[in-house]
Symmetry: C2
Subunit: 209 residues, 2 copies
């Protein structure tokens, strides 16, 4: 079985337009990421992200040629939904999905950069917390923040997490980190482009759940 | 719109066999119960229970005459699945579903019995905690127990909860409690019968999640 991180995102074209089909194809490999965290408490998070992907895919499938890029979807929905936009449809789903992707991205980046808690070098809690603070905290009310604080204790040891990302194969840690580094290049670029698009189109909301 | 609690469970027959069709029909009105708790953090709980109901319904629909009662399902699955049983199929789904139902039952019973925290008489935290301890705590590891402790802070005021159960209609609190009392009779009897069946058939497991 392939490494979870072996499903590369496509390189961004010069115009930074993200193609919907290949984006959906690449993100569809990511929900198992949350299984790698090991505990059943992450199942609702995985479900939330699968829900986002399903919503976007349904819109895309309704007219693949019209919705060739993610931006075309936002433009069409803006036109269609008027005052309800952007808290609606695939625009809303992608708004949240990109935050989950950023969580994954920052967590992996922090790991390959070797950031660690010197007192607990085998744990990934500091990396999870950093990712949470940069990607999600601001969109969560105090209760969900509290739940996160409790849930982070269920995060696995670094070695077990890296092994799970390698689908249990006995890959050397350094090889696994190399794969992740490689994966992060296009993944980060694609997600950055999505963030930029939300800013440019004024599609970002900052309500909390 | 009708009160959530107006969908009575059928009275148990003398042989205490629970008919699958009417049981499924009655429980299908219960997931919105978790919306009455008000916060989006209860969505994964609702999803878990909807999942249980879907699993049982799929088995029932595969052969409604064969699976006329819940006991027939357990018997057939025991036969079919051998050593995997009872941690499998509708047997597993109903094992968890009955715990969620008991949570609802104890919470409502505690409310109609007027149990309250004298220092916070408008809150339902003590009632939720009692229900949790009797129905679920034992099946949850320390982490999920910790998550529960955090989540209970999101429980609504008693008045708002009762109003939500009445689907927002302005029913007098005493009238709403009367409805609940009435609802609890057959509901409690049906769920007790399910518990008894699990004991008798040796189908109960006590692993934790
Ligand atoms: C029995 C006792 C226990 C009780 C305890 C129950 C507690 C349950 C709490 C569960 C929280 C699960 C996380 C999900 C949170 C979600 O509420 C948010 C907003 O979710 C969005 O909401 C929108 C509407 O506002 C649309 O419905 C979106 O859907 S739409 O497709 O319809 O448009 C949907 O994604 N998503 C998020 O915050 C995204 C979460 C990404 C998470 C990333 C990783 C964090 C990892 C942590 C690792 C250490
Ligand atoms: C971004 C940061 C945030 C991160 C935080 C994420 C935390 C998320 C934690 C979510 C916990 C949700 C509760 C669900 C727990 C479930 O794990 C358990 C067992 O669930 C069962 O598992 C079986 C396999 O073992 C089968 O899959 C069953 O499924 S099967 O159908 O396939 O057979 C399934 O129901 N159900 C339960 O414990 C039942 C729960 C009933 C709850 C009753 C009410 C409690 C209300 C509390 C009110 C104050």
């Amino acid at each position: 079985m392939a490494l979870l991180m072996e499903h590369q995102f496509k390189q961004l074209p010069a115009d930074k337009q993200v193609e919907t089909r290949s984006f959906l194809e690449s993100v569809s490999y990511l929900p198992p990421f949350f299984d790698c965290l090991g505990s059943t408490v992450f199942a609702p998070i995985k479900a939330d992200i699968v829900g986002n992907i399903t919503t976007i895919k349904a819109v895309f499938d309704s007219n693949p040629s019209r919705f060739k890029t993610l931006q075309k979807i936002l433009e069409a929905e803006k036109e269609l939904h008027g005052a309800d936009w952007p808290k609606v449809g695939a625009t809303l789903a992608l708004m949240w999905l990109k935050r989950g992707l950023r969580f994954i991205q920052v967590l992996l980046q922090s790991l390959v950069d070797g950031e660690k808690d010197e007192n607990n070098p085998d744990l990934i809690r500091v990396n999870c917390t950093k990712a949470y603070e940069l990607a999600l905290k601001k969109y969560h009310g105090w209760l969900v923040q509290k739940l996160f604080k409790a849930a982070v204790f269920a995060a696995p040891y670094k070695a077990d997490f890296l092994k799970a990302l390698s689908k249990g194969r006995n890959v050397k840690e350094e090889d696994c980190l190399d794969k992740i580094r490689q994966f992060l290049v296009n993944f980060t670029a694609a997600n950055d482009a999505v963030y930029e698009m939300y800013t440019k189109m004024n599609a970002e909301l900052d309500y909390t759940v």
